[in-house]
């Protein structure tokens, strides 16, 4: 579904991603782990079109998408979340979800005047879908709260909710568990599992919480210094001496 071929990204003299090659299979949940500064988030930014790679190629659904902008990739079914929640803070939680569906007729500057009934009926559909999503995420009680007032964990859920408002094929989750308490975390895992099994979403997730990786991800890809160190199932990756060295050689313990 997604293929990365010799991807490289330079920031000035610093090479954040250094010849990264791997592929993501349809309907899998791939875990991306690695010490801080391994280039995981940079890799996400490359895949999602927030950055353009210095060299290398990205193929999505068999098509070369290298250098396409984020909003173009979104329309091809590639959706991402952010490590630090990027909620639309002055919009309500409900509006945060309602803004997502692509090509809404009401997004046309003039449609609100010339095709009001069509705008209205789409709005009703979008709204009920947003309410369903909030219910699924158990966020209904904060539907009309400004998203900026939600807790960190609720914002993470809301970001996951945004990915559910469109027909996503591939969802990139950047540290969905960071800053989320244990109870909510288990809930989040369940949601991801349901989306993967029932809706057929393909996930790639960056995570430092190994329990979550173990529970959800197969395969697991471990990165260090901008390269793929090893790829395989959780047990193989965890017991690999290179992985242990990469983690212990860098800052240990504190997930950023």
């Amino acid at each position: 579904m997604l293929e990365l071929d010799q991807l490289e990204m330079d920031f000035g003299g610093f090479r954040a991603v250094n010849g990264c090659t791997f592929r993501v299979e349809e309907n899998s949940t791939t875990g991306l782990i690695g010490p801080n500064g391994a280039g995981k988030t940079t890799l996400f930014n490359l895949i999602a079109g927030a950055l353009t790679p210095t060299s290398g190629a990205i193929r999505f659904l068999g098509e070369d998408v290298t250098g396409l902008a984020s909003h173009q990739l979104f329309h091809k079914g590639l959706v991402r979340t952010f490590q630090i929640p990027h909620e639309f803070h002055k919009l309500t939680a409900l509006e945060n979800l309602m803004m997502v569906p692509p090509s809404q007729p009401g997004e046309n500057l003039f449609a609100n005047w010339v095709a009001w009934s069509r705008v209205r009926s789409t709005e009703r559909d979008v709204e009920s879908k947003a309410y369903e999503t909030l219910e699924f995420l158990e966020l209904t009680h904060v539907a009309h709260e400004r998203a900026g007032n939600l807790s960190g964990g609720q914002k993470k859920l809301l970001e996951l909710g945004r990915t559910m408002m469109t027909d996503a094929r591939l969802v990139l989750l950047d540290e969905p568990a960071a800053g989320v308490n244990r109870t909510l975390l288990r809930k989040l895992e369940t949601k991801i599992e349901i989306l993967n099994k029932e809706r057929g979403y393909t996930f790639v997730l960056i995570e430092h919480d190994m329990e979550m990786i173990e529970k959800l991800c197969d395969p697991v890809v471990c990165m260090a210094e901008g390269k793929v160190l090893i790829e395989g199932d959780f047990q193989t990756v965890r017991s690999d001496p290179q992985v242990l060295e990469a983690y212990l050689g860098e800052t240990t313990g504190d997930a950023a």
Binding site: A48, A50, A69, S70, H71, F74, H75, V79, R80, F82, H86, E87, F88, H89, K90, L91, T92, L94, E95, N96, M98, M99, V100, P102, Q104, P105, G106, E107, N108, L109, A111, N112, V119, T122, E123, V126, E127, H141, A143, H144, E145, R146, N149, R162, T166
Partner: protein, 321 residues
Amino acid sequence: MEFVGLVNYALFMAIFICIYALLALGLNIQWGFAGLFNAGIAGFFAVGAYTSAIISTAPADGRIGGFDLHFVIGWIGAMLAAGLVAWPIGKICLRFRSDYLAIATIGIAEIIRLVIKSEPVLTNGARGISNIPRPAGDLGYMESQIAYLIIVLAVLIVAYVVVERQFNAPWGRMMRAIRDDEDAARAMGKNVEFRRLEAFIFGAALMGLGGAMFAHFNRSITPEAIDPMVATFLIWIMLILGGSGNNRGAILGAAVVWIIWSVSEIATDRLPHEYAVQAKYLRLFLIGLMLQLVLRFRPEGLLPEPLRGDQRSTKSGADRH
């Protein structure tokens, strides 16, 4: 006599408030809803004022036009011209981050002012264009003021309804989302550059209309009228004081600031003669002080941005900050 004078003064003030409220609404589209720091309002104001003047004045020697057309055509032309000028400017400048956009737009407004001042063929140069017909201008003095007030008030109400409805619609939701977090909006498939350009042009068109209404009211327009102090920064203060992101706030801000601004002129006129030179700066100081106080004690403005969207089930968020 005293009473008639007061009424006249009130009418005059109300007309200016309506014109400024329209400019503040235009800025609210750009800043309050799309997060675009346009510090060149005066430029679009000028384009609108001159376009309408050229379209609606009688033919004159030595410059383009006038075309002697109805003022309504002039006003529509003003909106189109301001939008048309905004298009290439937006295309180039909207890629900048907000502080650079502010600098670029100040510069562009200044360029527009200088072009107007030094192109007699287009604008009659420093002498400006006079004899601009005022709608209902052939009535008696006060009747004409009242008629003009009704016209500008009607325009303001229509503009308010259009802008308000636009921002409750999906288009407005998308614009507010782009303002709150452009990276996330991009990741959610929104074409940020294009949408910003739309909001920029939309706002500029209202500013152009404001300029045209100003020119027709004064029956003339000169390059001096395009002073960034009164045609850009005063409007910024109106919006910030009134509450950016809130259309009613923009109108309220225009009223409050214009009343203070214009009453302060009366106050400074009564100062002893030796202070006359300082008077102008005292007024500027007063406006600056007001802005400081608002930013310190009520940064969200008199009327903060309301919660939008469907509110049918709860209202819990309405009074929290």
